[in-house]
């Protein structure tokens, strides 16, 4: 990653993360197909909802004939974390127009958020619309394409994820987390490692009481509070 904030650098920076979308997008397409959705429905869901874990939940709830309001409420809870990410990200675009802010927020994901937060460590804590739009739109297109391909191959050929493609997403978060920790000089290393350890323990405990979607949200909030307390206390 470098200090450039151009279309070209956006393309270069987002490339590794697209592998993550391909693995999970294929998986979603396959799951969608086997749970009875048409290719058109798979494509529409990826374009209209555009939220990885929620889409798996929707496919399952549709197959179970759940009421629409119930599915929407599940979506609200699962995606509440977007408010945290958008609030963090929006601070870097206060000078841009309202329309520009709405467009930038519309396609923000876990991945482009994490990428952006990494990027600011190399750009003197600045981001611009061209760079984020590039990352967002490439991600959006790759996600839609991968989910359609997953739906098409369905159960025709062996699942490519058996070869490890699905792990691309985890590997990407490992990489982004590692790079974030070593390059963010605004926080001490010991503080960052303490927060990460806290997240691990809190996540494990939370999983005894709730599904992982809710555990992610709860642990993110608790982890931030823990970090604040630790930073002030020292």
């Amino acid at each position: 990653m470098d200090s450039e904030l151009t279309f070209k650098s956006g393309l270069k920076d987002v490339l590794p993360t697209t592998f993550g979308y391909i693995g999970i997008g294929l998986a979603f397409g396959i799951v969608g197909k086997t749970s009875g959705l048409s290719i058109l429905a798979i494509l529409m869901m990826s374009l209209m909802v555009y939220a990885g874990s929620l889409q798996f939940v929707i496919a399952g709830m549709l197959a179970a004939n759940s009421p629409i309001l119930g599915i929407v409420f599940a979506g609200f809870l699962i995606n509440l974390r977007f408010m945290l990410m958008s609030t963090s990200m929006a601070q870097y675009f206060k000078k841009e127009s309202l329309l520009q802010n709405i467009l930038l927020g519309s396609l923000l994901t876990d991945e482009t958020f994490a990428l952006g937060m990494n990027k600011i460590n190399y750009t003197d804590r600045k981001l611009n619309p061209v760079w984020l739009h590039t990352a967002n739109i490439i991600s959006y297109l790759v996600w839609a394409a991968a989910s359609v391909v997953g739906g098409l191959i369905g159960n025709l050929i062996p699942d490519p994820n058996r070869l490890g493609v699905d792990f691309a997403l985890v590997a990407m978060f490992i990489g982004l987390l590692y790079l974030q920790v070593i390059s963010d000089r605004s926080k001490k290393l010991s503080l960052q490692l303490s927060v990460i350890l806290f997240v691990l323990v809190a996540f494990y405990i939370s999983l005894m009481f709730m599904s992982s979607n809710f555990a992610i949200l709860l642990v993110t909030v608790l982890g931030c509070l823990f970090g604040m307390v630790l930073e002030r206390w020292k």
Partner: protein, 105 residues
């Protein structure tokens, strides 16, 4: 595609879009208090860590989480690749190859 399926997408799409966009709109008008900025400064590492650790466990609410050994084992070489290369593309490739090997063995 039935009306039921389509309306589900509309509802979920709308709620997800609002969660994404409302903070951007509000922050155009209001500034965050210092305490909130401090809180948010921890969101990147906590969310990335939570999304990473999610892969290690399979939750069964009411019981101890099960360990996902495949993901846990494949994480090792991936972290090493991160430390050595500091390059996201290389990290992802090493991760996928490691997982393919773990599943073959």
């Amino acid at each position: 595609m039935s009306m039921y399926v389509f309306m589900t997408f509309v509802g979920c799409g709308l709620i997800t879009w609002l969660l994404r966009v409302v903070p951007f709109v509000l922050l155009k008008k209001f500034s965050l208090p210092k305490l909130a900025v401090e809180f948010l400064s921890f969101v990147p590492i906590t969310i990335m860590a939570a999304l990473f650790f999610e892969s290690w466990f399979i939750g069964h609410p009411g019981h101890l989480p099960e360990i996902n050994w495949e993901n846990l084992i494949a994480s090792g070489p991936t972290v090493v690749a991160a430390a050595i290369t500091k390059n996201l593309l290389a990290i992802v490739i090493v991760g996928v190859i490691t997982m393919a090997i773990v599943r073959l063995v």
